[in-house]
Symmetry: C2
C-alpha cells in the first residue's frame, strides 16, 4: 500500500537553510531538519544521501540566490555592493559557498553576470582576468570582515567603497 509523500527535497533544503542562518551550521541537524518538515530523521535519507550532501544542496541554493541578485544588479559597482549585502544578510550561507561541497557549476555560474559586466567595460580579452580580480577581492573582503580580521580601525563601508573605486579605476585605465 503506497504512502503519500509527506515532504519534498525542496522543503528539506529550505528547512536546512533556515536552520543554518538561525543557529549556524551546527544547528542543521538531520533531526532538526526532519522535525521542521514533519517527519522523522531516517525518512530524510529517502531524498538525500547524507548530511554533507544536504549542506552542499543548501550551498547550491545559496549560489542560485546570489547569482539571481547579481543578474538583477546594474553595473560592476552595483554588483559588488549586492555581493556584500548578500553576505551580510546570509552570512552562514555565504560561508557555506566555500566550505561545503557545492556543485561547481552553480558556484561558477555566480561569476557569469560579473563576467558580462567586466566584458562591457574592459573588453572580452581581459574580461575573465578582471572578473576574477573583482570577485576574489570581494570574497576576501567579506570573508575577512565576517571573521573579524579587520581590526585596525576605520569604517568598513568606506573601506569597501575605496576598494571598489580603486579596482574599477585600475581596470578602466588599462
Amino acid at each position: 500500500m503506497p504512502t503519500p509523500e509527506r515532504t519534498s527535497l525542496d522543503e528539506i533544503v529550505s528547512a536546512a537553510a533556515r536552520l543554518l542562518e538561525t543557529g549556524g551550521v551546527a544547528a542543521v541537524t538531520m533531526q532538526a531538519v526532519a522535525q521542521d518538515v514533519g517527519v522523522k530523521a531516517p525518512s530524510l535519507y529517502k531524498r538525500v544521501r547524507d548530511r554533507e550532501t544536504l549542506l552542499g544542496l543548501v550551498g547550491g541554493a545559496a549560489a542560485d540566490d546570489l547569482t539571481a541578485r547579481l543578474e538583477a544588479a546594474s553595473g560592476i559597482e552595483d554588483q559588488l555592493l549586492v555581493f556584500r549585502r548578500f553576505a551580510h544578510e546570509r552570512p552562514e550561507a555565504f560561508r557555506l559557498l566555500f566550505t561545503a561541497t557545492v556543485d561547481a557549476d552553480k558556484l561558477a555560474a555566480t561569476s557569469a553576470p560579473v563576467l558580462r559586466a567586466t566584458s562591457a567595460t574592459v573588453g572580452a580579452d581581459h574580461a575573465l582576468d578582471a572578473a576574477r580580480l573583482l570577485t576574489a577581492w570581494a570574497t576576501g573582503f567579506v570573508t575577512m570582515e565576517l571573521a573579524g580580521a579587520f581590526r585596525l580601525g576605520g569604517d568598513l563601508d568606506d573601506a569597501y567603497d575605496y576598494g571598489i573605486a580603486h579596482l574599477v579605476g585600475s581596470l578602466v585605465s588599462d
Copy 2:
C-alpha cells in the same frame, strides 16, 4: 598524591593541527587528539575549555605561522606568493583562519608585515587601504581556488601573477 603531567597544551594543539591537515576538521576529535598525546579524552578538559576553543587555538597557531612567513618575505610580491604557498601547504589550517573563532589579535597580526611593505611603497597615508586591498584579494583568490570556484579555464598560477602585477601596479600609480 600529585600526578606528573602527561601532556601539555602545546602538544595538544600540535596533535590537533596534525589531525586537521591529515583528515580535515571532522578528524580532529577529542578522542583522536587524546590518543595522539597519550591520554584519555576527559583529560583534555584540564587544558582546554572545549573542542571549539581547541580549534581556535589551532587557528591561532596557524596565524602565527603565517605571520612569521610573511615577516621573512621581502617585498609585496613575495609576501603574496608566500601567502598562497601557505594556503596550499596547509589548506585546512588556512580555512580555519576564517572559520574558527581565532584570537582576533593573532589574526590582525597577520596584516602587520603587509602593512609595513605597503607603507614603504605607497606611503603611510594609504598603507592601510593598500594592505586591506591586497590581503582581501589574496584571501579571496585562495579561498575560491581551494573551493574549486575558478572553473573557467586558464592557469591559476598565471592568474595569480596577473593579479599581483595589476594590483601592485595600480598602487604605485596612485
